[in-house]
Amino acid sequence: MNNGRYYGGCDVGSTTGKAVILGSEGIVGSSLIPSEIDPEITARHALEKACASVPGLEGIQGLSYLIGTGYGRNEVPFASENISEISCHAMGAFWCDPSIKTIVDIGGQDMKAIALADDGSVREFAMNDKCAAGTGRFFEAMSRIFRMDLDEFSKLSLSARKTIPVTAQCSVFAETEVISLLAKRNPPADIAAGIQNAVGKRCFTLLKRVGLKPHLTVTGGCAKNQGLLMELRRLFQIDIAPMTVDPQLIGALGAAILASRKK
């Protein structure tokens, strides 16, 4: 990276927009905002916010190279290039910890399992982008049923005494099932453990397709869900490597790293 040059990565997700600015000393700025309806506006707001946190950087125009990623990446006209979020998550996680070989990325509306090659590139991937079950949207819906915010809900299962299975495969039917379980006065923590277990099993299925190799990490917004992380550890019988950077920013970080390699 050249001195005085800044590189940007912008991950336009379905739920949040993320931006990371890299300078010669590493990450110099970042942002995380709720997504707007228009992905271009999301990208602009996220980037402006991240750029504003970097002294001496004159807005988006000051970036030497900008890579857009995420589901809305094709709607970011001011990006120098667009790269799939699969490659960006792989690169971001690898940059944080080169020993990472497998990633589970759980975003707002999809879930991916990514296997990494030794150089941090993608060796294999599998994704579920057709079904809301096991995504951030699913957890949002669940937390609403429990009348909790996401943070509160993510910790609920930590105090569970047992796991009440949630068997419905579909998020709509799962919602009905959970309401029914609550109505029968089952302990909310035990039901929450069932929800985390159902999502964990979905992750496991995806991971099986790409081959699970240590070290494993979780990225995306759902990586902040402590109950889910605990369940994944239990199901996979493997530790989950923590990221040195906010796991929700990994895609944007990977994009920024790839941008910094464009001289």
Binding site: S84, I86, S87, A90, V122, E124, M127, R209, G211
Partner: protein, 470 residues
């Protein structure tokens, strides 16, 4: 998208084949006359979709030029000619018409002087021309209680039978191949047509001599049954003539395959797979089929001699496993133009035993049986996979110097769905990039073409590290 500007000669070639297709259609229309034609269109509404074949031609030649473009247009023109011949058969030789399953040798029916019609054929051809053309038949079958999770090809075929969309045959002939869905579709066809039906029992163990003898015996029994229930009489000399000519076709095809081993390949995609699909499965042993393959070989030779590749800037060479994505058949055009992917060969064309021993009647029947048992939809849906499925894939990857395997993961095919997971592990061990496209063969409502494009894009950009050419 890579911008390829076809030259004047390309435009002229395109228009030549467009005119030829129209001429074939016009020939049939003129022969039928307005009254009969009107009645035919009412009786067989799918004819209207077939008539739109030039829209498929337009999609398939897009971005292609020179001999490659000519070859693709020529193959499609040959298919149109063949379809018209089949249609004329159902109009003018209905007293010899039989419906037969696609994994029975058409050579035998032709040699018996029968007019064969493969019910699955429309389910294969129509979605290529009009992507949503089979949806009404799929829905019709489901509305009658056919489970929605059986393969959409037999399901659509059942729907067509229920809507009385097939010409009335004298008899129905089927087998226990390739799958339960396929078998059940012929039960419905036989019930709907109220015609006598015969099922050939194809042995499971396709590798042994005993199995071959058994299959040959089954074919003999089928011939005897057909002679009893139809005006067809077996002419063994005629069968030998057809088989000899089919052998000529196989030689020509093998010559083409030998040439496409070269990097970059002088011929690709539809010129390779569609020519096999139609001419070997529907019109084997025809003089027109031999001529077309000879012309295809000449075009390939010319490209090879002058160092012209089919796909300009060929960067990747792919193997397509399973039938092509019928409702989005121009996927290969997109892959060529967007990433420089050249589809070299496919599993439906590949057969390790393409020749027929014509030294005796028994040897012919055994060879025809072998072609079927060692061919797609039979060999690969019978285990053990370690002995046929994986070795065939890895042989083709090595022999044709391929970079990757694309599996058209037709959601309705339980046999191959189960294999994809194991194939994933095998390819991982062998270091072969594998793309499994989740889609349905003919129902674009399951995965629309945009979904297929996204899967291909994700694979090419993340695994192959391909840069888009646009």
């Amino acid at each position: 998208m890579e911008k390829i500007k076809p030259g004047l000669s390309d435009y002229l070639e395109f228009n030549k084949y467009r005119a030829i297709n129209l001429m074939h259609i016009g020939r049939m229309a003129a022969k039928r006359g307005p009254f009969d034609l009107h009645r035919d269109l009412k009786r067989y509404p799918w004819l209207l979709d077939l008539l739109k074949v030039n829209s498929l031609l337009q999609r398939l030649v897009k971005g292609r030029s020179g001999n490659y473009r000519t070859a693709v247009a020529m193959v499609l023109g040959g298919v149109v000619d063949g379809v018209i011949e089949l249609l004329e058969g159902i109009f003018y030789r209905s007293d010899h018409l039989i419906l037969h399953e696609d994994l029975l040798p058409p050579e035998i029916f032709r040699a018996m002087g029968l007019q064969p019609w493969v019910p699955e054929l429309l389910g294969i051809l129509l979605p290529m021309i009009v992507p949503d053309s089979m949806q009404k038949y799929l829905d019709a079958a489901e509305n009658e209680g056919i489970p929605p999770d059986i393969c959409s090809l037999p399901r659509a075929t059942i729907g067509m039978a229920m809507k009385n969309a097939f010409p009335p045959p004298l008899a129905v002939v089927s087998s226990n191949l390739p799958c339960d869905g396929g078998m059940s579709s012929y039960t419905v066809i036989a019930q709907q047509t109220k015609k006598p039906a015969y099922w050939v029992d194809v042995p499971f163990d396709f590798k042994s001599e005993r199995a071959l003898n058994y299959f040959a015996g089954e074919l003999k029994a089928m011939i005897a049954w057909l002679e009893e229930h139809t005006p067809g009489k077996m002419d063994w000399d005629r069968l030998k003539e057809i088989c000899d000519k089919r052998n000529v076709m196989a030689e020509l095809e093998l010559d083409i395959w030998d040439m496409i081993r070269q990097r970059p390949a002088p011929m690709a995609a539809e010129a390779v797979w569609m020519s096999h699909l139609w001419f070997f499965n529907v019109n084997p042993g025809y003089d027109t089929s031999i001529q077309l393959l000879a012309d295809l070989k000449s075009l390939t030779e010319e490209n090879l001699a002058t160092g012209i590749s089919a796909v300009s800037h060929e960067k990747y060479r792919a193997l397509l496993w399973n039938p092509p994505t019928l409702h989005y058949v121009d996927l290969l055009v997109l892959a060529e133009r967007t990433y420089g992917v050249s589809l070299i060969l496919d599993s439906m064309s590949f057969n390790r035993q393409p020749f027929i021993d014509t030294s005796s009647t028994d040897s012919m029947l055994k060879s025809l049986g072998s072609i079927i048992m060692q061919g797609p939809m039979a060999r690969h849906t019978r285990g053990p996979a370690e002995m046929n499925y994986f070795p065939d894939i890895f042989h083709m990857v090595k022999h044709f110097d391929l970079n990757m395997v694309w599996v058209a993961g037709h959601i309705g095919c339980k046999n191959t769905q189960a294999m994809s997971g194991i194939l994933q592990e095998k390819c991982r061990d062998a270091g072969i990039p594998l793309l499994v496209i989740d889609y349905d063969l003919m129902d674009s409502r399951i995965t629309p073409k945009e979904g297929i494009q996204e899967q291909v894009g994700n694979f090419m950009e993340n695994i192959m590290k391909a840069r888009r050419l646009d």
